[in-house]
Symmetry: none
Subunit: 428 residues, 2 copies
């Protein structure tokens, strides 16, 4: 990134961050978003709910952009807007549009507008001379101050409210205000291979990236590895686009089976698209994933178009009654076994009359492991119009990680089956 | 908070933190540990792998303790020790004991000592006049500088190495060096009332906290509000404990129905304890929460002791087949209705033969809302030995938030029913 890049710092306010009751995910999120539009984060500061500390941080800020989070709630320890209006030499004035928004928000929640409290209405008192950024998800508005070539933006500390404000107004306004140097990213999302092994497999391709001035970042998370390609050079946009697309195409050729999508597309969304495309329906039978797989599938808006439903068969009795698993099969093989997982998938597919079904059964831990079936052992099955397949894995980590990793692996197994079915039968 | 408390700041070094590739969990962990021994964290700064930025942060530090993490690895971008030795006007000198440790570490890892690279041995070059803190878990030693009444400690950024150093040497040395005043926290967790309304309800109690020198912080997250009580005063430990316990007891009297636990206990764990205590079992029937409720319940280790299983009835057909809901009931009232949610809870309780059952049905959005049943409308029901109860709410926010908030509300409804049942029938 060139030295002349627009710089940014984050100022995060809240005692809970300093004393470690809350991990500062906001700074990471904002840093990533700023980088993506070509603004360089150079400093993050965290201070407590303390006017002198906040004022000192404001007065020593040197970056072009200062993103401030926290301290905008309706309670006594929320002091950011008072410190800001004082710092910029402004008064707090009543903003009728903000009050109308707060009242509407309460009405939408089904509460009597007369219940709106003084503390809530006080959220409509904002500095006189700032641009108010509407917060669709809460009562605390964002504030944009443009002073002597520097932009200060104040946002609530609640992550989803901050993210909503950043996406809807702050990032677009920053792009317009600073016109940061051209920067291009393309993020290719993979699953089914760990970071180290993947890095080995694509090592030669990675070496070749330098010739095109394309930078690569590995962004691993449990079960997934995102590969972000970036051009930082001050190229003309078309040339930059061409280089990044050429390298992406080469990567697709190298590891076609690992790539499930790009950008913000989640694996469960990719699967939703595959199902919708063919008018297929899906059912789930979960043991060790305990509803998490169903939660991933239904987290996608519009999933009711293809998701019929599922059974969480935690007790063996449920496996027998709801999924038709014979008790001698359970006794002979144990609940964590190939015959049981396959029967679970077939059972829920029949019971709910779906085209496809996925089943999981395993040992999520921390208790329940044996020498033959240690914690992390999970059987997965996919049943479909062309039969049932299954596989077993030993997934590493704590209970939430075993659940997450095995759910991702189950979705990936379904994805591969759907792609195979797509190839086998030409679409009408 | 008295101004005389020993203060600390964290200086975290690394580009990956600024651009959001890594979330800064180190600062949270160190802040918590410092608070627990009575040292007050007042500032966290994150800077990149940039000597000027690091030097500037060092020279503007004002706290008694400066904890520095990161930039101690064997690669080129690891510059912390060079900047530190330069800042303190020292040379780097060879520390034979550290070299012996590095060689021993390689042997322990099963690697040939001849494989030890020059870059690894360079880790034994450390500032001449500092206390070297041995790092049992890696090659980067900690460094302790005591200068003009201020202590600077440099540690590696790898979380488990930093935590090992903090626990083994930094925290004990800080206690000895500063003998910090006693500090106590107690975190009381509530659900069922928003932050604003709760603040009003306990306003008088909050005002009275000052008399006991107890500080209060509201820590809201979707569906929950944590209340953290702290005494920072230089009291003797018993007096501090007494004050904080007295105020906590008063809070319990004020809002008994809202408090589900303390400290790290999650709502789903609190419910697990209530169920286990009585040997009760639980089943779930989920529509709009789509498996998330089941996921929360099964995220608790050992939940298989009381959780039998559940049905995710996304399609109406599943509600009919698996839960025995008459089709005319669905037609007459719609799936999002009081009769349907009550029948779902009763149906799954019968089908899975559990003591208790919880059901959800609603409009998670973003599509599917109507004027009578807008997005966020969710019916909840709890069926138990003493019958079925239900309620409706309109939950705010995006799809994941409606799902999260309605699941929390459903768990809270179950919690209240379990407490009522506990009172009604004396425990044997």
């Amino acid at each position: 990134m060139p030295e002349k890049a627009t710089t940014a710092e984050c100022l995060c306010i809240g005692d809970e961050l300093l004393i470690g009751q809350t991990v500062n995910t906001n700074a990471a999120w904002m840093g990533e978003q700023l980088s993506l539009i070509g603004i360089r984060p150079v400093l993050t500061r965290v201070v407590g709910d303390n006017p002198e500390r906040i004022r000192e941080a404001l007065s020593t800020a040197t970056a072009d952009v200062v993103l401030i989070t926290g301290g905008l709630g309706p309670t006594k320890d929320d002091i950011t807007k008072h410190v800001l209006s004082d710092f910029f030499g402004m008064k707090l004035v009543h903003h009728p549009a903000v009050e109308a928004h707060i009242t509407a928000l309460f009405t939408r929640m089904g509460r009597d507008p007369r219940e709106v409290k003084q503390a809530d209405l006080a959220q409509a008192m904002l500095p006189a001379d700032c641009t108010v950024l509407p917060n669709e998800l809460g009562t605390a508005s964002g504030m944009w101050f443009d002073r002597a070539g520097r932009v200060f933006v104040s946002m609530p500390g609640v992550p989803y409210e901050m993210e909503g404000l950043m996406t809807a107004s702050v990032l677009p306004k920053l792009k317009e205000r600073f016109r940061p140097a051209n920067i291009l990213h393309r993020t290719i999302k993979t699953t089914g291979m760990g970071e180290t092994q993947l890095a080995q497999r694509i090592a030669d391709w990675e070496t070749g990236l330098a010739l095109d001035d394309v930078a690569l970042a590995y962004l691993p998370s449990p079960g997934l590895v995102k590969l972000r390609l970036s051009t930082y050079a001050g190229l003309d946009p078309e040339e930059a686009r061409e280089r990044i697309d050429r390298q992406a195409a080469a990567l697709y050729k190298l590891v076609p089976e690992l790539i499930y999508g790009e950008g913000r597309l989640r694996l469960e969304e990719a699967i939703g698209l595959l199902l919708k495309e063919r008018g297929y329906t899906l059912a789930l039978a979960e043991s060790c994933t305990g509803g998490y797989l169903s939660h991933l599938v239904t987290s996608v808006p519009g999933s009711s178009a293809y998701y019929i439903g599922g059974v969480v068969s935690y007790a063996n009795a449920v496996k027998m009654v709801e999924l038709g698993i014979p008790s001698d099969m359970l006794e002979l093989n144990g609940a964590v076994s190939k015959p049981v997982v396959e029967r679970m998938a077939e059972g829920v597919r029949q019971a709910l009359r779906s085209d496809w079904a996925v089943a999981t059964t395993g040992v999520a831990g921390p208790e329940g492991g044996t020498p033959e079936k240690p914690v992390g052992t999970v059987w997965l099955a996919v049943a479909g119009p062309d039969g049932v397949t299954s596989s077993v894995g030993v997934f590493m980590g704590t209970r939430p990680l075993v659940i997450r990793r095995s759910a991702i692996a189950a979705l990936n197994m379904l994805r591969k089956r759907l792609l195979k079915a797509q190839k086998a039968v030409p679409q009408l």
